[in-house]
Symmetry: C2
Subunit: 407 residues, 2 copies
Amino acid sequence: MTPQELIAGFGTLDGELRVGGVPLSRLAARVGSTPFFAYDRVRLDARVDLLREMLPARVELSYAMKANPMPAVVQHLATRVDRIDVASTGEMHHALDTRIRPDRVSFAGPGKTPAEIRQAVAAGILVEVESTTELKRVIAAGDELGIAPQVAVRVNPDFAVKGSGMRMGGGPQQFGIDAEQVPAVLAEFASSVDILGFHVFAGSQNLNAEIIAEAQRKTVDLITDLAAHLPGALRYLNLGGGFGIPYSEKDRPLDLATVAAHLGELVDGPIASRFPDASPVIELGRFIVGECGVYVTRVVDRKVSRGKTYLVVDGGMHHQLAASGNFGQAIRRNYPVVVGNRAAEADGDSVTVVGCLCTPLDLLGDDIALPPADIDDLIVIFQQGAYGLTASPTAFLGHPAPAEVLV
Amino acid sequence: MTPQELIAGFGTLDGELRVGGVPLSRLAARVGSTPFFAYDRVRLDARVDLLREMLPARVELSYAMKANPMPAVVQHLATRVDRIDVASTGEMHHALDTRIRPDRVSFAGPGKTPAEIRQAVAAGILVEVESTTELKRVIAAGDELGIAPQVAVRVNPDFAVKGSGMRMGGGPQQFGIDAEQVPAVLAEFASSVDILGFHVFAGSQNLNAEIIAEAQRKTVDLITDLAAHLPGALRYLNLGGGFGIPYSEKDRPLDLATVAAHLGELVDGPIASRFPDASPVIELGRFIVGECGVYVTRVVDRKVSRGKTYLVVDGGMHHQLAASGNFGQAIRRNYPVVVGNRAAEADGDSVTVVGCLCTPLDLLGDDIALPPADIDDLIVIFQQGAYGLTASPTAFLGHPAPAEVLV
């Protein structure tokens, strides 16, 4: 998507980008300091509404809070989604603070310790086990606490998903139990604990609707095979998510209508006939929050070095690891950057936007066209609602933590 | 360096790695939780002693605390080095808490705000300006506070240093004032503020002694040219640092004797004759602390997926961004990893060590030979004294912060 398309998504007033309806310079004054992250509540609601409108009614929407664990965001989304997925007991505590019922909180991720599993079982949340070791720990915690644990098996599928930003299924993986091992695991443990169902998650940040649809079809087939080995009915059917958002200008948004159409066929067909007791779960983080957030930082210095113009801002890679190109990318590509208080002005000469860290890694926009900007202008990086602040090394070089606001 | 060489550096007792003389399992019991970072005080002292012994006596040693800002480490090193370099006012506060005099604390880094410069001038620390804008801010803060500021100019040299992990000089840069612009800047501002001298820093993490020596020679020549434009004598001569440490097995340690020999010629020759009022400063972070620290994490799960064996540990990339390959590396290479409580055992089959984060980025050791390890064994990553904890996204996925101990 282009910066202009992204600006239009938030809207402008008197030439300034608006977030949550508030012009950016006013928002900066309200926050009182730069840099900061701002999340737009109206856009957040619109995103959930869009998913509700397009996805089959029987689909349950789970928010993967690892994408953005800001408590206000989690609390707000808890009033709009059906489930929350957590990746740690730290996240679990925040999820339990919301109105979502504990049995609608799922806990996934490798390497869960006995202590963490004990906490999860005591809380009554759904533990998605990633190995036989974890399953044994769940059973032990249930026995010790006198609680029937909520448990499902995360499955490492026997197929891979192409085109994902990160592949998390197929071949050897640290995630889940290999599909072909699952029948033996169920045969051994299903008499000791009530296993509700399965979670298959094959990859994240995918922008290709057909590939997502194909993965969902294969997932339903795989779970059909595995469910035959359960002693009771399948009651948990987590199809994963992996819906991507566009970061670079070349990226096109995911065709949600196509994903929804294919999913509708699955829901009305095999899922309805085979799994009458399970609502399919779609688990999304980045797709819900990613496009609703911006990172706002102020120009502190403008300098020309050997013909190249630099805008030095008061933020940087300590809040923007992914935008700096240091979070899982093989090749750095610019994230969309604009001058938020000059959103209606024409681009001038190219500039390079760097952060305030004393390292050449701290690069936010390399040789990009922007309206002429100088000290005190507000530089905005889009698509920062997910994997922004918490996925960055905030303590690096000892700068203050940025504010986060839900507007 | 090989894992065996690294183990020998710390020493063992009854087959266990020792840190600060304490066997690892006992240290883990003392800390009370894993994962943790442990820094060895004896090795820290030995490193400073080595530098003192080999470098010319007139050289002042500055500790770049961005490498490891743990307060206990900074306090300890403050009793052993001559200067501390800070990269933010946050770091400045910690440096001022030590016995180092304020005028021996330097503050470098692009994008210093007027408020930060005002704090630094009020503290009486040495501000290394990275642009004309910053120089004007220093003068303004001095005028406002009625204080004569301590100030030096950081220079972007007209040469580049090959073989650095990160190039930070030569060509266009956000760092420093271009060498060819410095005479004009001095002509304009040297009557308004007393400029003590210059800092030239050309690159970091360099393992080639000849290249470092060549950069130091060129730096002295460059500063000689620039010093002619100062109205008074040169009193600050910061030659940078950039001494690297070995991370992968193929890396060989820096030949410090060669660096020292060349530096000795510079100190006894041009520096003594041209700059009688300045002691050359060598600024080191990683080289002082990097090899003194280890990261210790416990195996939580061992699983085999489609023929590949995984050790899942309770730490991960949220504390080990560089080891996971996501901090400035174009190609991921394994950091040195051992089983700390089985330091004397022979290697078994290859395993892959992954962290507890729910992302395939969380890879700590890819297909490495280790002694057979299982749940509760202690996995150690070496060379973790610098750019470890603070250079990692600690809040990612909401796991607890690791402990840090100086033993």
